[in-house]
Amino acid sequence: MVTNTISVSETPQVLYALRRADDALILGHRLSECCGHAPTLEEDMALANIGLDLIGQARALYALAALREPSLEDGRANTEDTYAYLRDVGQYRNLLLCELPNGDFGRIIMRQFLYSAFIDPYWRAMMKSSDAQLAAIAEKAEKETAYHLRYTSEWVIRLGDGTPKSHDRMQAALEFLWSYTGEMFDTDEAEAMLQAEGMIIDASAIHDGWRTTVQTILDRATLTLPQSAWMQKGGRSGRHSEHLGFLLAEMQQLPRSEPGAVW
């Protein structure tokens, strides 16, 4: 069978960049699905804005992965577009949280809030990376994610403490998403190597601060932190939900159908 699926040589540095890039791309893609369909024109623009920031972050991180990946045997090198468009589901390294279908506006906001409350302090800490390129990416991303966190926090409060109906929807969104939050703090051997070099930080170190931020906002939103401790995982190693395949089928269809074409 002929396939244009690429192979990637996932050294720890490449794997790291792809994981972060995939988070940003897949979540940005999900937000881009709402464009033209949000509850107000202002929110339509805001969600598109966040989506654009995330796609921009993904591109910077894919570019870094391409730079760090040893070139292929035939001398070809991967690019942002081969990573995005020519990897299969099992080669994607994003968090499960990022690939979950949008659901209603409340779930979109809650997903973005839970992620932003993690990724904003994460990028802030990464600004001190020993790797100058990563530090620069982190610095730019943090400015953006600080706004994402502010925007989504305000909406979590407004909807949680809005009407009984909006309160129930936000609580339901939180319950639905909760078991997908643990994966954000996971780390593995590949990352431990990079941590030892001072290149990346230990994501689990963000957990307590994240929990405090989340608790503070949920309190103001009159929402209750779920009790369940069981956490889903798998995205980081390519074991995904059923949803990612559909997302990729849609996203990749055109470049897959015309191998080698320039768009």
């Binding site: 791309l25 893609h29 881009s32 699905e33 464009c35 033209g36 369909h37 949000a38 509850p39 107000t40 024109l41 202002e42 929110e43 339509d44 623009m45 598109a48 804005n49 989506g51 654009l52 796609i55 921009g56 993904a58 591109r59 894919y62 942002e80 577009d81 995005a84 468009y85 209603d104 506006f105 409340g106 409060i157 407004r158 909807l159 403490d161 809005g162 009407t163 109906k165 909006s166 929807r169 849609e250 996203m251 269809q253 055109l254 470049p255 015309e258 074409a261 320039v262 768009w263």
Partner: protein, 326 residues
């Protein structure tokens, strides 16, 4: 909106005497800008509300055909550019609804009219985007035609509309260049890509010409709008300008315009085009275009699904306000 209180003018009916009308026309003739709180004939206000709201509706309905390709854009650069473009269109809708608000027409009421099928929007957005090349063709032709229409509106006699148009036109010309660049890339690409570009041009060319509205011989609103300097050029004049600008671009792309009658007039240099199918135009305006139902259904769905969000935001804001007052 804060502008509504300022605009709480007495109904001008009985005041609409000959002297006021004459003064108003003198201001228009001397290229004076009319501002929100200036006296204006009721018909002038109504004409503007109709035109501005149709324009606003076109921007937000216009998000849909192109929005359908954001998730399928073939490279990350194109994906980001398209998302940014569709977001711009939403912004255009916002400025325009704000301009209509200065004339006492609220966004909510105007959007309700749109969803009830009582308001018009540009016929062009009732055609489907079948392939990626449609995104190129829309940017090139549809944004191109919008620019032709809108550049003269930057000098419209009504200040808030004219100023909104200046912002909008800057972004539209960026969209147009981006669309042309997509077409260029396809036209230089594989045989399949080139065929895709030609097919999109075939489908979007005639509807783009229809964007300028009915021929001058049966256009209802033009005379009064021209006297009020809302409109500076006739539909046919603008259409001709558009054709003259676009034919050389199509030649540059190496694509063929789907009009066997197209020829250059030796004396004027204008490109003379064939018969436009005005019956098709009438049908699309009447709601029978290929996508009219889909477009309104999408708009209604977004509105209905967002109702709980808007209600909650209003309830929260009201509670905050009363807490502050207490």
């Amino acid at each position: 909106m804060y502008t509504q209180a300022l605009n709480d003018l007495p109904t001008p009916h009985n005041l609409e005497d000959a002297e006021k009308m004459a003064n108003f026309q003198t201001r228009i003739d001397s290229e004076d800008r009319i501002e929100a709180n200036d006296w204006m004939p009721e018909a002038y206000r109504r004409t503007l509300v109709r035109q501005i709201s149709q324009h606003a509706h076109s921007e937000i309905i216009g998000q849909l055909p192109e929005g359908a390709w954001i998730t399928r854009a073939p490279s990350l650069r194109r994906k980001a550019a398209l998302l940014a473009k569709v977001q711009d269109e939403c912004g255009h809708g916002l400025y325009l609804y704000a301009a209509a608000e200065t004339l006492n027409a609220s966004r909510e009421a105007l959007m309700d009219q749109l969803m009830e099928g009582k308001a018009k929007y540009s016929s062009i957005f009732n055609y489907p985007t079948m392939t990626w090349a449609d995104i190129g063709a829309i940017g090139w032709l549809v944004d191109g035609a919008a620019i032709m229409n809108q550049i003269p509106l930057c000098r419209c006699s009504y200040g808030p509309y004219a100023r909104a148009m200046i912002r909008v036109c800057k972004e539209e010309s960026f969209h147009q260049r981006q669309g042309f660049e997509i077409m260029m890339t396809l036209a230089k690409g594989s045989a399949r890509q080139k065929a895709m570009a030609q097919d999109a041009l075939n489908r979007w060319w005639w509807p783009s010409l229809m964007m300028f509205g009915p021929p001058d011989t049966d256009s209802q609103h033009s005379d009064q709008s021209t006297r009020w300097k809302i409109k500076r050029f006739s539909n046919d004049e603008l259409r001709q300008k558009f054709v003259d600008a676009t034919v050389p671009q199509a030649q540059f792309l190496g694509l063929t315009l789907p009009d066997p009658d197209l020829r250059q007039d030796e004396v004027t240099g204008n490109w003379m085009y064939g018969e436009i199918d005005w019956e098709e135009f009438k049908q699309v305006i009447a709601g029978n275009g290929p996508c009219n139902q889909d477009r309104l259904a999408s708009r209604r769905k977004a509105h209905e699904e967002g109702a709980w969000v808007r209600e909650a935001a209003a309830a929260y804001a009201a509670r905050q306000a009363s807490r502050h007052a207490a």
